[in-house]
Symmetry: C2
Subunit: 435 residues, 2 copies
């Protein structure tokens, strides 16, 4: 087996990664038919083992933390890398929660009899082998492994160099439990030992890996989207907008904007842009800017918004002139782009031109404005008079999520267990032939 003329990694690494994926695929054929009871028992045993052996993981994580700190990793990344005993315990609780979720496998999506009596059933089945390329966040290793196992899928992971020792310790425990429960440890495997080449080989492994899900910063995701020959589900980037219509209720607008911008900074469903209708800009913008200033949010405003906010003379406001680049930037910080629009139409056009297709919200009391906005905005989620922070698998009732898809193919929005499946049609006949 070779990767042909377009090889970008050595044949040895490509073959090794494909061999792991093929072993995972063989093991997945058994897992795909396991009932929910046995999958849940497996997950509970993994959770118990993570608790019992948390010291092993935390010890490995200490070494990863020291190396990354010495290499000058910033505080935010170090915090995401930290996987100490309390965090392992929290991850184990997450696994126990996944065990409580309904099993998507076997659901009959559609079923009916053809006129000739053939009984057709479109049945939900696992996707197969899910590849995950993510940055150094060891809890993702546990999350993805538990979601994949519950949905009957195998997982091939590439978890970021900085977390390699932590991920290895975590996977050793998961694989021990798989073996002890009669499942093939090949179901959850890593290509970390091949470094970046491992990730590249995963992208080349079409026919071996069924779907690749990148999770992390925009750079990582775009690199996978551009280079992968395996089908990709694009996740996470959120240049999220809130539009305050001229019919908007200021009493709703302020708490929603503050919540969407500040309740948790640095997540993909946090709001990044505020568009305000010109008719209410003079009334609303000073009040909103005051609330944002109190929450220490820096404002990057277009000319019209700048003028209104500047004139209001708000204490402590941090006001800058927006550049063209602002409208396409996901700040992931206490920063918000602010723009005055002449119409609902301009708001919709601006959002559809600059959004990453994650989540947008309208603040409006006018029925037709709401219909127009929800109908024309081309994003995974459109909120009306509600915070954009609700776009989340947990909030949507999925129990847990693999990520939030910003693409249109296969899954759009939060991806839970159901989105990790495909279907198979089964036709039960009694000798039917086509006339």
């Amino acid at each position: 087996m070779t990767n042909g003329e377009e090889a970008r990694v050595s044949a040895a690494v490509f073959d090794a990664v494909c061999a792991k994926a093929d072993a995972a695929a063989r093991a997945q054929k058994t897992l795909s038919r396991a009932n929910a009871e046995s999958k849940n028992e497996l997950l509970l045993a993994i959770a118990d083992a993570l608790d019992a052996r948390a010291d092993e993981i935390a010890g490995a994580n200490e070494l990863d933390m020291i190396e990354s700190r010495d290499a000058g990793m910033d505080a935010g990344k170090l915090d995401r890398l930290l996987f100490d005993v309390p965090r392992v315990a929290a991850a184990a609780q997450g696994v126990r929660h996944v065990a409580t979720l309904p099993d998507p496998i076997g659901e009959i999506v559609r079923g009916y009899n053809l006129p000739n009596g053939l009984r057709l059933q479109q049945t939900r089945v696992p996707l197969g082998v899910i590849g995950m390329i993510y940055e150094a966040r060891p809890n993702v290793t546990v999350d993805v492994a538990s979601l994949c196992l519950k949905s009957g899928n195998a997982a091939i992971l590439r978890g970021g160099h900085a977390a390699e020792r932590t991920n290895a310790a975590t996977l050793a425990i998961i694989r021990d439990v798989l073996a002890a429960h009669g499942f093939d440890p090949a179901l959850v495997d890593t290509v970390d030992e091949y470094g970046r080449d491992g990730a590249t080989a995963m992208m080349e492994a079409r026919g071996h890996i069924d779907v690749l899900v990148p999770r992390g910063g925009a750079g990582l995701i775009q690199a996978v989207v551009r280079n992968s020959k395996v089908p990709v589900i694009e996740t996470g980037a959120g240049n999220v907008h809130i539009y305050v219509d001229k019919s908007g209720d200021l009493g709703k607008a302020i708490p929603i904007i503050i919540n969407a911008k500040t309740q948790r900074v640095g997540v993909c469903n946090a709001a990044e842009k505020l568009l305000v209708h010109r008719d209410v800009a003079a009334d609303f913008l000073p009040a909103i800017a005051r609330a944002l200033a109190e929450a220490n949010v820096e404002l990057h405003a277009d000319d019209a918004a700048y003028g209104i906010i500047d004139e209001a003379g708000i204490d402590g406001v941090n006001l800058l002139a927006a550049t063209d680049e602002d409208w396409d930037t996901e700040y992931l910080a206490l920063t918000m782009g602010v723009k005055v629009v002449d119409s609902l139409d301009e708001a919709i056009e601006h959002i559809n031109a600059h959004s990453t297709g994650h989540t947008e919200s309208i603040i409006a009391e006018d029925y037709s404005a709401v219909e127009e906005f929800t109908g024309r905005i081309d994003s995974a989620v459109v909120m009306v008079n509600a915070s954009t922070r609700f776009t989340d698998g947990g909030v949507f009732g999925f129990g847990a999520e693999l990520g939030i898809s910003t693409q249109k193919m296969h899954a759009r929005g939060p991806m839970g267990l159901r989105e990790m499946t495909t279907t198979k049609w089964i036709g039960y006949g009694t000798g039917q032939v086509r006339g």
Copy 2:
């Protein structure tokens, strides 16, 4: 706008194709909100115009036919290229049929209230711009245009050099009707004027075209799958198996095998391989081989099957020894590979190793064998005691089909209007913020 460092076509062609796709996308934003009534009126007007102006299409087709005949095109391809007045009339009838199908847009896939009162609705919406790369079959132009318009999508088409005049005449009519009905003609466009570069540019046009569907021979499909940066739905290849279990009923097996192999040759759901359990091979194979010989089917048999069939001394049998290559070949001809297997398990393993994942059928009366086969076979459609020829959007009740997906992402099996959609979540709130 450029296609960056990985450019394989000239920037001019890439920009021109993207400009067409972007114009299509703008037009699609209006179409996506059109109600079913106006879309159906549009389709009926297109059907009427195709009938009224069939001479224009047939005249252009005559020139295409002459050129292709002179260039030595084989009879099968010439037949697929033919688009004379009766065939245009048949295509117009197909458009009228699409007008009668239910509109998938607006369907609420899931809807429920969150505990905080936010009303969540997952709503079916069009995919956007669908790119289609197909071989010289002018009826596909009409089929795809009508399916795309009904499902609220725009279409960018590359239809094969040999049919360029025919497709241009067809599209001119469709675009005239679009304009006359107040729709933007950019909704259905071709990149045929750029030749092969047009197809290459479509594959590079990520962010401009939402999904690319190749339809045609295995070579075309694999070239698109390998090279496209736009998400692809893989269609069509069918190395289709029928397995006769030791519990199989010979009375059902023979008509099903003959129907699946011979009712229509050269289509993707026609059976290509026959696996027979060793315990019944001596009884069943001579009878089946006799029926296949009468239907002029050439048999490529493994050693065991060859021995049994040869010994039976069947009149007129055309029996050859199978090679390893046979098991991975889609003949699309009156040829069938025949193999004796030792067990149900061997049959399943063989099929999962060699199938293209389209359709397989088991002939069996044993309950456990049926459960095992339907559960373990990893194909889009699994039939039990029924012909594989039923895998078809029309037969499944979809009314029409874009193709048959053999991949697991997004859609699997026959693709009708529903499979040409994605979803959008809408959350109707009253001021909710996340705690």
